[in-house]
Symmetry: D2
Subunit: 139 residues, 4 copies
């Protein structure tokens, strides 16, 4: 396991909210992170779709960890802001967020991420995020 992968997995393990969502980190490579969770009633909105906030949560963590995977040693990251477009109702058995680093600067990293619903083995895009993450000295 690479140093950045260790760093990302260790931090993810401390995000209790990811546990609440039933989310797991699947892929950690340099500048690319995948997080997914299974459908659960506990995550739904009024139409039984998964709530946009639950989808946004794994998109946000995926962007943060994609940024962390390319950050200088000894840095932590914080989300500055993000924008999400909801593209289709979040209906499926599993939901996966995939983030890639679009540009890594010294201070700020910009990531884009897509979220997909997986149903009967088919992936369908349900949301997309554009996010800004800041590198901070680890406290």
């Amino acid at each position: 396991m690479n140093l950045f992968e260790e760093r990302v997995r260790e931090s993810f393990g401390r995000q209790k909210f990811m546990g609440t969502l039933g989310a797991e980190i699947r892929v950690v490579s340099e500048g690319v992170v995948e997080i997914e969770f299974a459908f659960s009633d506990a995550l739904t909105q009024q139409n039984q779709y998964v709530h946009a906030g639950a989808i946004t949560s794994i998109l946000d963590s995926a962007c943060g960890y994609a940024a962390l995977s390319v950050a200088p040693e000894g840095c932590d990251v914080l989300s500055v802001e993000f924008k999400v477009n909801l593209l289709a109702p979040a209906v499926g058995e599993r939901f996966v967020a995939r983030s890639t680093v679009k540009r890594a600067g010294k201070k700020l990293t910009v990531c884009s991420a897509d979220a997909f619903a997986i149903k009967d083995g088919q992936e369908k895009i349900v949301a997309t995020m554009l996010a800004t993450v800041i590198n901070l000295p680890k406290t």
Copy 2:
């Protein structure tokens, strides 16, 4: 209770994800909605702050319901997109999202919302959202 308030509270009651967050709807007036939850370990990220995704979730629901409170009869609403700026670490005992309708159109409603952390009786802004919501015929 007004018709729109009934409509909003009934829909909120069906959002199981709000229950998962421990969120309650506090204020429903025409074009203004407040949703809050108490701090819980289950909602935290790696630094023990509340996860941006949890804060975003109540901001999103508050915007959706503010839009629903001014929507034509027989409409449901869906979030089209939103942007969130995280302004300060979400540290506190309670967290409240307050949304107001900025402009209501026939199809699209634009809402802005702020999220505050409440600690020792003091409110501090921790995030702000600008959101677009669409009116859809109820299914």
Copy 3:
């Protein structure tokens, strides 16, 4: 020239602001549009970079026309909203905005677009946009 290409080029020709920027439409294919302009002093901000507003203008028009290229017959389009990240100072001889349709719905189309500075034959990304466009009956 395809019907949609004609439709896009005719509308672009009526955007006088594109003329003010010295912008030209280069590529129009189904769901993909490119618009570019040359560096000019008239477009600069305080550091002699091209102003973010000028770059945003061609990103916005590129997204609108990418959406128009896939819109139903007899529709016009309007920008609902967009988000732009400025990734690097806009320094170069020419600037090009490339948009692609991310998801086309009946009412709303979501486009993403990147802007590049061209200098000494090299392209460098300087900005990225995520945009929502609405289809409206032509007036």
Copy 4:
């Protein structure tokens, strides 16, 4: 004239793109900036409305200068990103962008801004921006 007002007006004077738009800075107070321009054919899109890019340009400059007005001595500012909602067609005689600082941090400042069309002495909101600006040491 206060020091920050001088700083803002001097920088605005170097933004040639503002001259191209016919824009003038009206109000500069601590954390609040207003920029406006008159309607001109040269700024229009295909329906003779003012182009979203022209409106965005004065919103962006207004946010940047609102941030600059509260920035530490010896800093310059750059736009990191912004999101704009277009709320109504930009039809009028004059157009004004008003920005206020939402939160000023050491590195990042978040501003919100509204744009209004003025017609027959009436103001109507046509767009709203939420923006992130970064403080940089002056070069």
